[in-house]
Amino acid sequence: MKAMRNKLGFLISVSLKRKIKSKWFIIANILVGLLIIGLLNIDTIINYFGGDFNEKRVIYVVDNANAYESFKDFLSKSAILSFENENDTYDIILTQKSIEELKKDYDSESDKKEFWIVAFNKSEKNVIDAKVISKSFIDTLDYQLLVGAINNTKTMLAIRDYNLSEDDINRLFGTIEVEREIIDENQKSEDEMMASMFTTVFPVVVLPFFILSIMLVQNIGSEVNDEKTTRGMEIIISSVSPRKHFFAKVIAGNLFILIQGILLLVFGGIGLFIRSETSTLVAKGSFDLTEITSKLITPSIISELTSIIPALLILMILTFIGYSLVAGILASMTTNAEDFQHVQTPIMMISLVGYYLSMMAGIFKGATFLKILSYFPFISAILSPSLLVMGDATIIDFIISALIMALTNYLLIKYGLRIYKVGILNYSSKDLWKKMIKALKEK
């Protein structure tokens, strides 16, 4: 032939095009993109569609103890602290109606939204007695705020009875300014570390890594398997060496997840941008996206990530290469798609173990077992970042993990290629392991 082709480059480009130009890749990414953008703006979406949660809770106060003003004041302040929206949560109305009359309204106004009744009466024993009436169950957070406001109201009324001055009241209720000093300024509180881990390491590093490694294994495996089961492999390997073919799959697979990773970042960026433009405030709970996104752009977190990013990237790339080598080797040994489904399960389990251990790092701070496991190939890239943020690992540990992973990859290439060469042209599962062990021994 006159024009010589770079067959490795050609195989890489074909493999990559086959993945990226597939309509399912495009459909899947549209869905993933929408999901990520949607998840990052889930509170905005929920608010947009509305519901009981964003309607004002109407509270009728039957006041026979001169408690209304204090109660309204305390409850409004609590609402601001808890929901971060000023005076939008509760509509506190002083009523002249009796409890019985209000109860009748429950029946007559059944089609209207619910309201609660808080009745105050004077008490010899407790300064005031209070009664909370509602048609249905009151949410725990709302009830806690109501009870808190009632108790504070009682204290306020009691203090008034003692004719204390404004200053005395302020001194009693004023917040104590605690001066805090930590000798080692580098040490962060466990809460801060946990927050860093769950708000940065998990969504930015661990979760995408886990998803991408699974995608990588499946992609390489299914492609090798497809070429094997259609016997196209015979023609391919009669034209290019198994070594070239193997490296083409590994490189194409890794380029693919690089593109996929970039797309995930772009989706995340779009999601955060939309969030910054349209953000609305919702009730604080265990999962607060506003806090997560704001933490992500905190200078300390950024500087922390910047310092570990080169080492982290090297470790992640080496681990991705490791996963692709293992996927290629195992896929070469299988004779049909079902077999590959079986052999990829242990690979996924290893990745899953890393994922769970990474979560454990937040609970078992300083665990020696986790520290040892963080050097293990395949697990290290997913576990080390968590340990680093928790202060249980250093850049040196990252470098050691990366070196171990690089050595693993070298061994996988050296010995795995022998298996690959025999495996891709083997169509029988009979004596499979015997054949592979024999291949390993051959030079």
Partner: protein, 298 residues
């Protein structure tokens, strides 16, 4: 020239190919025959560099076959080896590029061959959407896309109707005339007989018969005589030198030990009213059956 010299291949303790030697010159069509498991595919795989021989040497034009030479080789496997999710065009481009061809060369060769095989209309169709016969045509097109110096065809006629067999034969002969070395295996002895000049018959990986088909037939002692007349099977079976008598539609096929018995048979039956007496060379199938001990045609 393709030269296979004393090649032996072991799979574990099993000897798949046993000290096999043959040569194929440019323009020759060579048949590699044998029952399933005789070692044909293993031999093809060794020639195409998919397997290393345990011992022996395979050379093409004096050089060991390696990945620097595979661009000159075309290979059609026994089973379909097409990537079924690709279109015909993508498939041609893929295999063509693996053979080191430029896009222009692929396009030109592909269009010409697709027209010759009357499948140009399927160029943009996916392989999996084509019939078995058309898939076989595409497989053949991809095997010869690079105008190979050496073409290996493992059961090229499987799944083809007689018209397409003729089409394939025509192209194979054309390629041989253009100087390609062609090795092929087939279960259909009539195909081998029609255009195969040289052959090897393998039994358990070992060559039991080899050489030019013409010489093989000439040297094969047993001959057939087709006789038509008012005689019975018993009249023929009792003649000296007759091995087997087979009743065909309205005539007998008489197998004799060698050509020296032709006159004896003739003299013995001239008392009957004979309207046909034709001496024929044995068919390749008969030679094969005798050498191998079983027939492909079963």
């Amino acid at each position: 020239m393709l030269k296979v010299e004393n090649v032996t291949k072991y799979y574990g303790d099993i000897k798949a190919v046993d000290n096999l030697s043959f040569e194929v010159r440019p323009g020759e069509i060579f048949g590699l025959l044998g029952v399933n498991g005789a070692g044909k595919t293993t031999t093809f795989r060794m020639i195409t560099n998919l397997l290393d021989p345990t011992s022996g040497k395979i050379t093409l034009n004096g050089k060991k076959i390696d990945y620097n030479m595979t661009d000159k080789i075309g290979f059609l496997t026994e089973e379909r080896s097409l990537l079924t999710k690709l279109t015909v065009k993508e498939q041609c481009y893929f295999f063509g590029a693996l053979k080191g061809m430029s896009d222009n060369e692929i396009e030109k060769s592909m269009n010409s061959l697709l027209n010759e095989f009357e499948v140009a209309e399927y160029k943009e169709r996916k392989i999996k959407e084509l019939s078995k016969g058309n898939q076989q045509k595409i497989q053949f097109v991809t095997a010869i896309l690079n105008h190979p110096k050496l073409l290996i065809l493992d059961e090229p006629f499987s799944g083809l109707d007689p018209i397409n067999v003729e089409l394939f034969k025509k192209v194979i002969i054309r390629l041989a005339n253009e100087g390609s070395m062609i090795i092929f295996s087939s279960h259909r002895m009539e195909h081998v007989e029609l255009f195969c000049e040289k052959l090897v018959i393998l039994v358990h990986g070992k060559s039991v018969l080899e050489g030019y088909l013409k010489d093989i037939k000439e040297n094969y002692q047993k001959k057939n005589i087709l006789i038509k007349g008012d005689l019975t099977k018993k009249d023929l079976e009792n003649i000296d030198g007759v091995i087997k008598v087979e009743k065909l539609k309205d005539e007998f096929n008489v197998q004799i030990k060698d050509k020296s018995y032709i006159d004896i048979v003739f003299n013995n039956i001239k008392k009957f009213k004979i309207i046909k007496f034709v001496v024929e060379e044995p068919t390749l199938n008969e030679i094969f059956v005798e050498k191998v001990g079983e027939s492909y045609e079963k």
